[in-house]
């Protein structure tokens, strides 16, 4: 059965497989994005009143190398990568079923909120709190899934609506559940802020297993390992199970999969649920690291939207998400290096250019394939003598036949 699942869509061409250039295309997009982003820095320098062209060089050097200058900075890459890796998995998994989950921000927000509640108010250990976050995200993700499967409402709209609904729902819940009156959640001095988790329940914080000492960083925890583990699980789920096959079939052609006996409604609902669960887990990893101040007036979480970039850059492949998540984690970690020279938004500018170019991956892949094709053609032209030889053989064969007659 598994062999059948492995059957990937690789059209045959000239007897040779058409190569899949997604990785190369992403790489080209990244390089082009970085170069264009840096070019913009120079342009900005040229426009500004006191242009000093040494500054962009210093900033770019800091941007590219700071993360590797010390252990603390190095770990920050993975610290930023862990939650966006998970939201990337969430968005990517939904993409596989042909669904666009913009709602990762809301799912992460509400999941993370319940994770914090579980750790502080219910006194659960960190892994149980993460599971709570995941379950809440799963339930929140079921809503757009149900609306899509039963009423055929575009999931883009429902997830956008649910993002904002979750934002206000979390605020409402914040003030009305979780023992807000007994001030266990709330900081007594700053009532808009939630107490740090370790004050109430040290076991509720994601452990670091000695990483904090090694990397000399308060940000160090095992969140990244959780994220990578989940990515591997998702890879197996997508590529080695019947359910994963159904998800991909739904994404490629909903009607055909229905015809083939796949319950597409059930698949869509479950896919959105799982995507929500992954995003919820991301929210849990984000807040239970206990390095981020949970405030009640939180806007929508940026990790949800970064997840879209991560998934797009990895063309939704779970293992690719590990790489692209780490890369965008690197961009986020390097943002601090720009401080003092440029606004932090330069990172977003670079990211947007990368995404824009990665949208061309199809075209880049086609161009690369065309180059290959041309090469093959040239090879064939060079080897044109071969068919003639065969013909000659054939004719001589027939002659022989004639002779024997």
């Amino acid at each position: 059965m598994f062999k059948f699942l492995k059957n990937k869509k690789t059209p045959q061409f000239n007897g040779k497989k058409e190569k899949n250039y997604t990785f190369l295309a992403s790489l080209i997009a990244i390089i082009a994005g970085l170069l264009l982003g840096f070019l913009i820095l120079f342009l900005m320098e040229a426009v500004s009143a006191e242009s000093d062209f040494r500054i962009p060089f210093i900033a770019i050097k800091a941007f590219l190398t700071d993360s590797f200058s010390a252990r603390k900075q190095f770990f920050d890459i993975f610290y930023y990568a862990a939650p966006i890796l998970l939201t990337g998995l969430s968005v990517g998994f939904a993409f596989k079923a042909g669904l666009f989950n913009i709602g990762a921000a809301g799912q992460a927000g509400i999941g993370g909120f319940f994770g914090v509640i579980a750790a502080i108010s219910w006194g659960l250990p960190w892994w149980a709190a993460l599971i709570v976050a995941m379950i809440v995200g799963f339930l929140w993700g079921l809503i757009p899934g149900l609306l899509k499967a039963i009423y055929n409402i575009n999931e883009v709209i429902t997830t956008i609506m649910l993002n904002w609904a979750s934002l206000y729902l979390v605020r409402l819940l914040f003030w009305n559940v979780g023992n807000a009156e007994e001030k266990t959640l709330l900081n007594s001095i700053k009532p808009q802020e939630v107490d740090k988790i370790f004050i109430h329940n040290p076991g509720g914080v994601i452990p670091d297993w000695g990483l904090q000492n090694f990397f000399n960083s308060d940000n160090a925890n095992i969140g990244i390992f959780v994220a990578i583990l989940v990515a591997i699980v998702m890879h197996i789920l997508l590529n080695k199970t019947t359910f994963g096959f159904e998800v991909k079939a739904c994404g490629l052609n909903k009607n055909a999969s229905k015809y083939a006996g796949i319950k597409s409604a059930r698949t869509i609902i479950l896919t959105m649920g799982i995507a929500g669960g992954l995003a919820g887990l991301a929210g849990g990893v984000y807040y239970l690291s206990d390095t981020i101040q949970y405030t009640i007036n939180n806007p929508l979480l940026g990790i949800g939207f970064d997840g879209i970039s991560v998934a797009l850059l990895a063309s939704s492949s779970p293992l690719g998400v590990i790489a692209s998540g780490t890369f965008i984690g690197f961009l986020r970690a390097s943002t601090d290096s720009f401080q003092g020279y440029y606004e932090a938004e330069v990172t977003n500018l670079i990211l947007s250019i990368i995404i824009y170019f990665s949208a061309f991956s199809l075209i880049i892949g086609q161009i690369l394939n065309k180059i290959r094709k041309n090469k093959n053609k040239n090879n064939l032209d060079n080897a044109n003598a071969e068919p003639q030889v065969i013909q000659a053989k054939k004719s001589s064969d027939s002659e022989e036949v004639e002779v024997t007659k």
Partner: protein, 329 residues
């Protein structure tokens, strides 16, 4: 009476950017291109109009003598900026056949970052740009004597009245006429429904889609400017998700101009209720603290419910989101 006037005028005020954004989405999707970049285009339109109005012409004599003329030119500026910016989406998704959602997302990330960097490189300190107060339409400007009007009528008419409001209404009517009463509109819709059929009778699908996206960019750019006007006369590098909400309003309005108007007003009404709920006593609290958050959830949940009840009639343009490939005809 005053409260009702405030609610009605606020409803209209916040419906205008939604209406423009949703009309923008409609033109793009009716031509077959999903325009998820509305949010980004709105920011760009708002940015250039604000820079134009507050920095380039803000203190000139011409602007002070002809304030509404200056606002009108700013509207044009926002439209042109939005239209040009949307061409990035058009080029990627029509010419290069890129995934429309991906390229749209890229523009959405790009726009706020660009707006912030641009504003910083001009003003040095802040990314918010305040728009001159003369942009507001006042009774004095119209030469009306309103001292004898009841206060609620004054509130109803002049609270948050900007040139964008009549312009938006004109654009709505024009959109309807263009889409349903002209050859161009018929062709545009054909490209969104069945591009190969349109192509077979000689409609240039690629060109129509470029035009559809460009119109979309112009309208969304103006919508962004309208948003920054009603949002306390300030340009922020952020339109608070209005671009995405406009997409929802467009679907709610079933890709039809006057239904979109209704949907925008409907959504905006519940949003206004949420805003005023905290200041008024007669909204029940259900024994909850900070109950205004409950009212803030309402517009989203009610819109979802309406979508559920109207889902049977909902009809998206058939070919939206699919790059046109003449080879597949």
């Amino acid at each position: 009476m005053d409260i009702i006037a405030i609610i009605i005028s606020n409803t209209i005020v916040f419906a205008i950017p939604l209406l423009l954004g949703a009309l923008a989405g409609m033109f793009s999707e009716r031509s077959g291109v999903i325009n998820i970049a509305l949010e980004g285009i709105m920011i760009i339109g708002s940015l250039f109009a604000a820079v134009f109005l507050s920095t380039l012409v803000g203190d000139t004599e011409w602007a002070i003598n002809h304030p509404q003329m200056a606002v009108f030119v700013s509207i044009l500026v926002s439209g042109v900026a939005g239209g040009l910016f949307s061409l990035l989406l058009a080029y990627a998704s029509i010419k290069l056949k890129a995934n429309q959602v991906i390229s749209g997302t890229a523009l959405n990330i790009f726009a706020p970052a660009f707006a912030i960097l641009f504003a910083y490189s001009i003003y040095g300190t802040t990314s918010d740009i305040s728009i001159p107060r003369f942009a507001r339409i006042t009774p004095a400007l119209l030469g009306w004597n309103v001292s004898e009007w009841p206060s609620w009528i004054y509130t109803l008419v002049f609270k948050g009245l900007f040139l964008t409001t009549p312009v938006a209404i004109i654009l709505l009517v024009v959109s309807f006429v263009v889409l349903y009463k002209t050859k161009f509109g018929l062709r545009l819709r054909a490209c969104g429904e069945h591009p190969s059929a349109a192509d077979s009778v000689g409609v240039k699908v690629i060109r129509m889609r470029y035009i559809g996206v460009a119109i979309s960019g112009v309208l969304a750019g103006i919508g962004g400017f309208a948003f920054s006007l009603v949002n306390g006369l300030t340009h922020n590098p952020d339109v608070l998700g209005y671009g995405f909400l406009a997409l929802a309003v467009m679907i709610f309005g079933n890709w039809k101009p006057f239904r979109i108007l209704f949907a925008a007003l409907f959504f905006s009404f519940f949003k206004t209720i949420a805003v005023v709920s905290s200041t008024l006593d007669f909204f029940p609290t259900f024994g909850l603290s900070y109950v205004e958050n409950l009212y803030f959830i309402l517009p989203y949940v009610i819109t979802l419910l309406v979508l559920v009840f109207t889902s049977k009639q909902s009809r998206a343009p058939k070919a939206e989101g699919i790059p046109y490939d003449p080879g597949k005809r």
